[in-house]
Every structure is written in structure tokens, then in C-alpha cells.
Symmetry: C2
Subunit: 342 residues, 2 copies
């Protein structure tokens, strides 16, 4: 592929992203000093169009990048945009103030929305990749117990269990100790296996209750495979809604209301070094065919705990968005490392 043709494509994308208007050969040749005449640019454009990278909304209009054009741009043309020192510091100080996991997630998602001016999505650290820090069992009224899991990433999951018979505080303590002895430090994925032998280890009188608790614990863990996510910046969708979202942004908003969709958007928590960019039609959901998603994993060290990313119109500033997403992911990972309970 001709070098200049790539330059032309880049120029088209840059201009289109900035102005939101189809860009013509003349203004293009003027604004970017390509050193060639509009006619030459026209030739290149015709060629680019034939190859499917750009298109015309109608005859005698300028060109607009296609999804394929953006793809090429992201893969081969765009330069990485460095973060300004001020931004860097802003990120850091903003995240530093977090007091607990919820707060970290809340702050990150807002930060990301603000930096990119798109919709931000942050997944809570995955339970699957977390280890048990502590299991708590609290006696409530009557025969009810409250089971609390605390993970090394700071997540807390609780469940009610009605065990049928009331227990003394000592008995509950006994159960708690059994749980902790077996589970402390274990990966959550291993919990089911570890729990299976548990009933043998307590006095027969306690076994029925223990079995109940175990059942609920397992159910809770399976349930919560459904991971949690947090969203911010939906208002950003309206920034240029009419132009970017042909019909309306209704379908997009609807999609964003579904946790499941959000999780799919972020995809599997990929390792923090590779960024995933899904452009327009590349998204599975039809409702999101006019949006792009930029996502990346985050975590302490190099294993991903979960993912975060943003969603915006296909016509977005990819280099800028990508650096912002990468930077936030890195800082979140670091924050969890320092701040997390482990």
C-alpha cells in the first residue's frame, strides 16, 4: 500500500473526527500539506474507496472513513499519543483518594469518562481470579446465619442462610473456624472442591447446618460469576448524537442497561498489555454497530483481575482514547496493589 495513500487516509480520518463532516479533496490538500494537488488526492481517494476504506454518503459529497478504514488506521497508521504530565498527575491524585474497592471502581469509571468524554465501563475485580481472604459467619436472629466472603481484592460478598436450627455463638464460631481453616488463601475457583470434604471435619450435630451453609456458599459463588460492572458518562453519548447515531441513541442506551452486554463488551479479561479495539460492525450486537469499544485488562502485576474500557461513536479519537484507557488501567492496577487489602 502506497505511503501517500496511507497519509491521505490518516488525514481524512483526522479531519472527519475533528469536524464530523465528509472531507473533500481540496480542503484536505490545503490543511495537511501533502505536497500534491487536489487532483492527485482525488485519485488516491478513488483508490481508497475502491478498496473499501472510505465511502461517500452520496455522489458529490466528500469522503467518510468506513469501519475498515478505522481498522487500518488503528492497526497501522495511528501514532501513540503520550499523556501529558498534568493528566498523569491528575489521574494519580484522583485515584489516590479512594477509601475502598467500591470507591476505586467509582473513581476510575468517572475518571475514564471524563478523560475520554465517552461512556466508561469498569469491571470489578473478578471473583474467579481472587483468593479468599477471610470467611465470616455471623449468627442472626433465630436459625439464620449471615455468610460473608472477603477476597484479597477487597470484594465482599454476603449471603443469608437459614440453617433450620439455632446455634450458640460458640457453635457458629466453630463452623467459622472450619471454613477459614480450609478456605483461607484459596483461589475462589478451588472453593467448590475444597468444600466437598468439609462436613466430615465437624461434630455430627453441626453437620446439617454446615451442609446448608455450604450449599448457599456454592450457589453464591456460581451466581456471582456474573461479575459486576460500573458505568459512567452516558451523557457523553449525546455529545453529537444526531450525527453519530443514525436512528437514535435509544438502542445504545438500552444495550448499556444490560449487565450481560457490558460484560461482553469488555470481553474476557485480557492481559494488561494488549488492548482490544472493536470498531462498529465488529461488535457482535447490532445495536452497537455504530459504536466502538476500546478495552484492556487491569490488574496488579501482569495477571488481569478484570477489564475496563470505553464505548463511543465509531468516529472517535482512537489514539487519544487508547492512551487514556491504557493509562487508567495501569494506575488502577497500581492502586489496587497498594491500596488493596492483600
Amino acid at each position: 500500500m502506497d505511503d501517500r495513500k496511507l497519509d491521505v487516509l490518516r488525514a481524512i480520518i483526522e479531519d472527519f473526527v475533528a469536524t464530523q463532516e465528509p472531507v473533500g479533496s481540496k480542503s484536505l490538500a490545503e490543511r495537511h500539506n501533502l505536497g500534491v494537488s487536489p487532483a492527485t488526492v482525488r485519485n488516491d481517494m478513488a483508490s481508497l474507496e475502491e478498496e473499501g476504506y472510505i465511502t461517500q454518503p452520496h455522489t458529490s459529497a466528500g469522503r467518510v472513513p468506513t469501519d475498515l478504514g478505522y481498522r487500518l488506521f488503528v492497526d497501522r497508521i495511528s501514532a501513540v499519543k503520550p499523556l501529558s504530565g498534568a493528566e498523569r498527575r491528575a489521574i494519580q491524585t484522583f485515584l489516590e483518594g479512594a477509601v475502598d474497592l467500591d470507591d476505586v471502581v467509582r473513581r476510575s469509571v468517572r475518571l475514564l469518562a471524563q478523560l475520554t468524554r465517552h461512556v466508561a465501563v469498569v469491571q470489578y475485580p473478578s471473583l474467579e481470579r481472587s483468593a479468599v481472604r477471610h470467611v465470616e459467619l455471623v449468627a442472626l436472629q433465630g436459625s439464620r446465619l449471615l455468610l460473608v466472603f472477603i477476597t484479597d481484592t477487597g470484594r465482599v460478598e454476603q449471603r443469608l442462610v437459614d440453617v433450620g436450627t439455632a446455634h450458640t455463638a460458640d457453635e457458629v464460631g466453630e463452623l467459622r473456624d472450619v471454613f477459614n481453616a480450609v478456605l483461607d488463601g484459596a483461589m475462589l475457583t478451588d472453593v467448590p472442591t475444597l468444600l466437598s470434604d468439609l462436613p466430615d471435619q465437624v461434630r455430627p450435630e453441626l453437620r446439617p447446618s454446615l451442609v446448608n451453609v455450604i450449599a448457599v456458599a456454592l450457589e453464591a459463588l456460581v451466581d456471582k460469576r456474573e461479575e459486576r460492572v460500573m458505568l459512567a458518562g452516558t451523557a457523553n453519548l449525546t455529545r453529537a448524537a444526531a450525527l453519530d447515531f443514525p436512528g437514535t441513541l435509544r438502542p445504545v442506551l438500552e444495550a448499556l442497561e444490560e449487565q450481560v452486554v457490558l460484560l461482553k463488551l469488555l470481553g474476557e479479561a485480557h492481559d494488561p498489555s494488549t488492548m482490544v479495539v472493536r470498531i462498529g460492525q465488529e461488535n457482535e450486537l447490532e445495536q452497537l454497530h455504530s459504536t466502538s469499544v476500546v478495552s484492556i485488562g487491569y490488574g496488579s502485576g501482569d495477571t488481569a483481575l478484570a477489564s475496563l474500557g470505553v464505548l463511543g461513536p465509531t468516529r472517535m479519537d482512537y489514539p487519544g482514547t487508547m492512551t487514556a484507557v491504557r493509562a487508567v488501567a495501569r494506575y488502577v492496577g497500581r492502586t489496587l496493589d497498594v491500596n488493596g487489602p492483600s
Copy 2:
């Protein structure tokens, strides 16, 4: 105020809510059998307009209700719409499946959004009105402790504390017991007072750590006066956006992103028997001048734990919305009663 004039106002509101179009005297006289001629209706309309209950978008257009008109409608005219048995059952079964507090809130907010087709907002049971069910103190690595509050409404709040020195499990247990002895069953509002004398009750060696923990506990409680809310159904705003939201729905979406705003929307948790309807300009925030808010408190028994409600265009079906909100609040209260840990 003339009886027929009220009838006319009701008719105008009903028609306008249904069609979204200014309603004229002729179609009005036809569709609702008022028993009078269009001319008479016109006279009434002129009078209603003079009094500020309706207005014309422009000369020679039909009439549109003003905020004041809706207000009168809500206060004096509208009949309570009963819930269908099917709806009733749907609500019940939908809420019954909830496994924990988060789940109850999530389900309620979705349900409310679905029933009313507006944006739903549900506040978590207020900490201020909750009592301490249990306090947990868990030793983590090094000198760190994890402080967990469990309330009788099922909320769990956790905080990290670095106490400076490492403690043995026994020592941590001792601290935990002290906390529970004093706080168990106490209202959260009383906690600060109760904690003030605490340091005297433990061995001198533990006092510095205890002071640290207390400081964090207090801070957390003050912090979390900032209550939590959950949102759903923003996509509903787009239903008739162009007509209902003159500029765009941007400002509305922005407002909804602010927790503080949401909390203000719901207002103080008012008792479950009175519903608050704030129409258009009656809302404090200018960004919400073209929306109405319908909210009510919910709780087990007759004290309100928190509030829930919906936000929609001023042009909404008030009677329907109000019954839905009231019904959901009632069922949520009941669900928490049965399902809650207390």
C-alpha cells in the same frame, strides 16, 4: 372552580399525554362526550388559560397543560388507578426471587422502570435508620485490619484500617468483642456517642489501635451518610425525547449521573403513606425543569428506610405512575421485612 372546567382540564391532559399533541376544542368535544359544543369548550379553555393551567405553543394551536395544570390535576382531579391482578402478581414474583439486599434493590429498580416506562431510582436502605447487627474485625497482612459493619437491613460496609502495629488473632478478637458488646443493636446514629468511651474498656496496649479503628469507623459512617442509589431505565428517556426535552436530554442525563442529585430527587425518606410529586419547574435543578419526579418512602412497618421513585417527562401518566410507584414501594418494604436479616 367550575366542575365542567375541571372536566375540560382533565380531558386536555388525558389527550395530551396520549397523543403528545396540542389539543383543540373540536376534537376534545368530540372524543370526550362533554355534552357541550366546541364553542363552549373554547370559552372554558380561554378561562383556564387565563388562570395559568394551560397554554398555547403559538396562536392558532391547540392547548397544552402547564406545570400548574398538571399540579391541579394531580392534587384534585385524577382518580387513583388500581393495579391489575396480573401486575400485582408480576411484582410479587419478580421481587421474591431476590437473594440479598443488592438483589432486592436491583430487581426493584428494574421493575419500576419497566412498569412505568420511566427512569427508576431506588435508594438503598438508609444507614441512618439502620441498627448495627454485627461488627467484624479481620486481621489482614501486616498491621492492617478490615472493619466490616453489617446492618439489620442487610447492608454491609467495609473499611481498611492500618493500625500501625501487628496484632495477634486473639487481640483482634478482643477488639472485635469490645466493639460488638457496645454496638450490637445500636442505631447507627448513636454509634459516635457509644464509641467515645470505648478506649477505656481495653488493655492499655490495645488502645492506640482501637483509637485508629474508631477513627476510621466514624469517618466511614459520616462518609456513608452519602447514601447509595441505583438507577435504571435511562433508555426510556429517549422514548419521546424530541418532544419532551426541548434542547436535548443531555442535561437530564448529566444530572442523573450525580449521586447527590439523585438523592435530592428522592428527597428525605418520607413516610410510606405520602407520595411526593414534583412537577417540572417545581424541581430545584434547572436541568430537570422539563421532568417530573414521583417518589415515596418504603420500609418495613411504617417507618421509612429510604425512598424510591421515578423520573419522566412532565407529560406523563400521573395516575398510572403513582400507583406503580406506590405498589412497588409497598412490596419492597414487605420483601425486606420477610427477607431481610433482622
